[in-house]
């Protein structure tokens, strides 16, 4: 029943061209963010006397210099996404992906103001400084503009190419010459459209496309996805999909990743500016604090199989599952136990992550645990280390994970016992 109802819908969402291009295109930013995170962590280690020590050793400007790579990775997130999303979408349409990517980057820059506001020391009013691209818009603030323009420009690009629009040249013009003109046409049309859009928006009080999309789309979606209810719904769907054996994180992540990524980066910006970190919900909230051992928080289940099982089958699966489980990969458990389509194990598989969302949310909102500091910790980072790094090197981040592991243990344990007993009985029967 579940299979019949869930499968086609999930398939359609996951296979949808634009969502797939979004997901695959944004992945292009991840290696850069992880590299930038190394420098970010080093800049904000929460040890007493650390900033003073660094200033003594490397000079007063040490932090600015240390964070150069952070600006070159986090702060061009949207620019990279503009290229990546267009590239992946063009691939789907089987048109020249490299060209589509380049055109999309140009379209994105065309939608961005070429000036920034700057308040000189001692002045009361900000002055407009020309000849620059505002870094903020090239980073997570511009992420949605980049994604939308990447799709818009690639749609125009592939439409013109697939319609095979040709410019008729008089006889005597060499065919390669006319071809080279035709090749320019799709890109020209993209630039023309975005240019007109920019001119129109400059006439309104929004001033730029970034403000339109920021206020009408990115901020409301961030507010929605950043709530406790939003997180619970997302996690519920991830678990429901996995319960039928479908990759829930990949399907739900395709829709939610841009929102959570923007939330992550807002925390990073606040950390860097020395302000209070705003968002509890971020990509790392899920990857690091909820899905310990993989979707379903199954690390404790792997440990139970390894150390507490009576049945040989459970023990054997435990030995197989513990290695990947430490790195948050749990397909051996989901398909091997199996949890998939197994009513007994689906119950804790769905309940545990939901409970962990609530404990982590409470922990972070009361200040017991630090909020994620915008550090892009890879989702394969083992628990304890992951919590420490995601909170910017705070031991209480690791402690939050320990508490979550304990909660997961309590929920999984009775179901593990019943499941192991079943396996044991089957084995005893087979031996008689």
């Amino acid at each position: 029943m579940l299979e019949e109802k869930v499968m086609p819908v999930a398939g359609r969402i996951a296979g949808q061209r634009h969502l797939q291009a979004l997901r695959d295109g944004i992945i292009l930013t991840m290696p850069l963010l992880i590299i930038g995170s190394v420098f970010l962590i080093l800049g904000f280690l929460p040890f007493d006397g650390y900033p003073e020590f660094m200033a003594r050793t490397f000079g007063d400007n040490w932090l600015t210099k240390l964070l150069y790579p952070v600006n070159a990775t986090f702060d061009i997130m949207a620019l990279i996404a503009a290229f990546g999303v267009a590239y992946r979408l063009a691939e789907q349409y089987k048109v020249d992906a490299l060209n589509a990517g380049a055109i999309s980057v140009a379209a994105f820059i065309l939608a961005t103001p070429y000036f920034t506001l700057f308040t000189p020391e001692g002045a009361t009013a900000a002055v407009q400084v020309g000849g620059v691209l505002p870094m903020a818009f090239l980073g997570s603030k511009g992420l949605f503009v980049a994604m939308i323009l990447a799709m818009f420009s690639t749609e125009i690009y592939r439409f013109i190419i697939q319609k095979n629009i040709v410019i008729k040249m008089p006889d005597g013009v060499p065919p390669s010459v006319s071809k080279s003109f035709v090749a320019l046409f799709p890109g020209f049309l993209v630039i023309l459209c975005v240019w007109i859009i920019r001119l129109l928006i400059e006439k309104t009080s929004f001033e730029s496309l970034h403000n339109v999309i920021g206020q009408l789309l990115q901020e409301p979606l961030g507010a929605l996805g950043g709530t406790l209810i939003g997180a619970l719904i997302a996690v519920f769907f991830v678990q429901l999909l996995w319960s039928t054996g479908l990759h829930g994180a990949s399907i739900v992540g395709g829709v939610m990743a841009p929102i959570w990524l923007a939330q992550t980066d807002a925390n990073r910006v606040a950390l860097q500016a020395g302000k209070e970190i705003p968002n509890i919900i971020s990509q790392q909230f899920f990857d690091i604090f909820i899905y310990m051992g993989g979707s379903g928080a199954t690390l404790v289940f792997a440990l139970m199989m390894l150390f507490m099982a009576k049945s040989q089958q459970s023990k054997q699966l435990g030995r197989l599952a513990i290695g990947p489980g430490i790195f948050n990969i749990n397909e051996p458990i989901t398909f091997g136990a199996p949890i998939v389509l197994n009513p007994l194990l689906i119950i804790p598989f769905i309940l545990t992550p939901l409970a962990l969302v609530i404990t982590t949310y409470i922990g972070m909102s009361t200040g017991f645990a630090p909020k994620t500091a915008g550090v892009a910790v890879p989702w394969t980072t083992p628990p304890i280390i992951g919590g420490y790094l995601a909170s910017g090197g705070n031991i209480r981040g690791a402690l939050m994970q320990v508490i979550n592991l304990a909660v997961a243990f309590v929920i999984y344990y009775p179901f593990f016992r019943m499941w192991d007993k079943q396996n044991f009985k089957v084995e005893q029967g087979a031996n008689k």
């Binding site: 996951a14 479908l246 397909e331 051996p332 989901t334 199996p338 394969t380």
Partner: protein, 101 residues
């Protein structure tokens, strides 16, 4: 024999690759076996003789079967029990049977 495996990130299938390589070695078969994420398939499929798909991305199967038809290679789903237990020998046998038929 070139066997390409795919799942969402190419991570959990890489686990199976190790087991399949061991099985191939034990049987004395020379085979190149590797795993990629679903988005990378286009860059790898030309080198493959057969494409095996992880059960967690089985919603991609219709599309991948079409790609396989264009490239003239068999494409099919890995049995989820074999997948879960990382049964390299069985999956290798399955790959061979796809190639033989």
């Amino acid at each position: 024999m070139n066997i390409l495996l795919c799942c969402a990130a190419g991570m959990s299938t890489s686990l199976l690759v190790t087991k399949m390589e061991a099985a191939a070695k034990a049987e004395g078969i020379s085979a190149k076996i590797w795993a990629v994420s679903a988005s990378e398939i286009n860059n790898h499929i030309d080198q493959a003789d057969v494409l095996l798909v992880g059960p967690q991305v089985r919603y991609l199967l219709p599309k991948l079967k079409k790609t396989g038809l264009e490239k003239g290679i068999p494409v099919d789903l890995i049995n989820s029990v074999h997948y879960g237990m990382c049964n390299g020998a069985e999956v290798l046998k399955f790959a061979k049977s796809l190639l033989d038929s």
